[in-house]
Amino acid sequence: MPAVMPSTPPAIEVEALGKTYGEVEAVAGVSFTVASGEVFGFLGPNGAGKTTTINMLCTLARPTSGTARVNGFDVASERGDVRRHIGLVFQDPSLDGYLTAAQNLRMHAELYGIDGRVVPDRMRQMLEMVDLWDRRDQRVQTFSGGMRRRLEIARGLLHSPRVLFLDEPTIGLDPQTRSAIWRYIGALREAEGTTIFMTTHYMDEAELCDRVAIMDRGQIVVLDTPEALKASITSVTVASPTMDDVFMRYTGSTVRDTDTSSAADGNRELARVVVKASR
């Protein structure tokens, strides 16, 4: 694993974290640790509880059980400190389309209280990284989906977060933009040692992560490096499995409804058996 210093505390520590909406158990007590500087992939079918978990980690939802610490701060009791150290890129856009790219970034810098003397340089670097420096004075409304996503990434990084959460950052983008986004992630980790916590549905992207957790029905069914996961299901029938095989193996091949109401049932037991068997 690159860029992980043994002395630095973990970027994310999650202990028995759970979230219940009324009767529905969206996240059923998950535990994991993400090391500082790691690229951590968070996979799972729709409705598995990934977004709810991210929302709890970035203080947008309150856990109903368990604890989580981001960069050493508790997500329930030290929300302000958590927010200072994280950046977010959501699957849904969160830019102000009426404003220009530069106005969006300036507003962000001010919301985060970034020293005004470094803002112009930092802004330029981020916009150049995502190849939007020339478009900085155009309204975001006029941007394509890929440009918007790149701008969101520039904005999410503007305040130099310790942990960057990316919720399906490459969904709906062309291959060029997808690979560009991965280049930014690499460059960023090198320059600032940022920890990346990302969800994705693209299994080829999961391969690029240091470690991958697969979540299903509110629980983490398996967590390991992509290599180890593939090795765990290697058999006579599947000689060289892909991440797709891994994903299907651990989450089953049936198509899911996006709602999680059927989560807390016997299938979870089955998942546990599968995890045990895989070890």
Partner: protein
């Protein structure tokens, strides 16, 4: 395309403090102003209705009303009411941006920023107040066209009342916006409330001699206590007979007792603060 960041500018996010909250208020406030200033068509659309009442409906009804206004032009009478109307429309529409922010996703950017949700609401209220007052000032500038003198004390007084009314109505709009999740619902709730409130406030007719049920609704309507001080202030500066002043700007009475201006102003201010508090609470809830 090169994705290398050499010599990246070091950035630190400071701990939360009063200064960061002040900044947040300013950011939200300025954003509303930038958007408002960037779209002049929006200004025109918002001005259209009040002006329609003042310059089309007013003169149109003049012939009907001529006998009962003691020679006072109907548009002069309606002027303070129309100012109030302009304030209400633009304050409510500014508050609606909160609903759009949620629908278009921008809300999340503010929700995860290391600032208090309260500051965001305060910033929104300030933004709405500023925009609404700017509309009110435009209407006020037309005073001469409806025979209202440009007396400095009158202008200053009206400006002060405009600030108060704009703040209270924005707080109302923000409160509705924070308790509603869909933009469509906001529009229908507002339509259901705003026009009846304007009609019942006495913005367009004198509140003396109303049928009993209408009189009760008028006294219960918070907007009544915003329109009345405005109208009496304007009428104090008109050169007209005392009798017509009494008929056209009689003031609001509770069981025969005339409610003094400071109580009216107090009611509007207290309601504004109360609605602001409710809005802050609703907005701070985390699921």
């Amino acid at each position: 395309m090169s994705a290398t960041i050499a010599d990246v500018a070091a950035v630190r996010v400071p701990e939360r403090s009063w200064r960061s909250e002040g900044r947040a208020v300013r950011v939200v406030w300025r954003r509303d102003l930038i958007r408002f200033a960037d779209d002049p068509r929006m200004i025109l659309t918002w001005m259209l209705q009040p002006l329609l009442f003042l310059f089309v409906l007013g003169p149109g009804l003049q012939s009907l009303a001529a006998g009962s206004t003691d020679g006072v032009d109907l548009t002069t009478f309606m002027f303070p009411g129309v100012i109030c109307m302009a304030l209400v429309f633009s304050a409510i529409f500014s508050a609606a941006s909160l609903v759009w922010d949620r629908e278009l996703g921008f809300m999340r950017e503010m929700m995860v920023a290391p600032v208090s949700r309260w500051s965001i609401i305060v910033g929104k209220c300030l933004g709405g107040t500023t925009i609404a007052v700017s509309q009110g000032v435009i209407v006020l500038a037309l005073a001469g066209l409806v025979h209202v003198p440009y007396d400095p004390m009158l202008l200053l007084g009206v400006f002060g009342l405009q600030l108060l009314i704009a703040f209270a109505v924005t707080a109302f709009g923000v409160m509705v916006a924070t308790s509603i999740t869909r933009a469509q619902t906001f529009t229908s709730v507002v339509q259901m409330l705003v026009m009846p409130m304007i009609f019942l406030s006495g913005a367009l007719y004198p509140v003396s001699g109303l049928p009993a049920w209408l009189g009760v609704l008028n006294r219960l309507n918070p907007l009544t206590y915003a329109v009345d001080p405005l109208r009496r202030l304007v009428f104090d500066h008109l050169d007209i007979a005392e009798s017509s002043r009494r008929t056209l700007a009689p003031g609001v009475t509770w069981w025969g007792w005339r409610v003094p201006t400071f109580i009216e102003v107090g009611i509007v201010l207290a309601l504004g603060m109360a609605m602001l508090t409710v809005a802050m609470r609703q907005f701070s809830r985390t699921e």
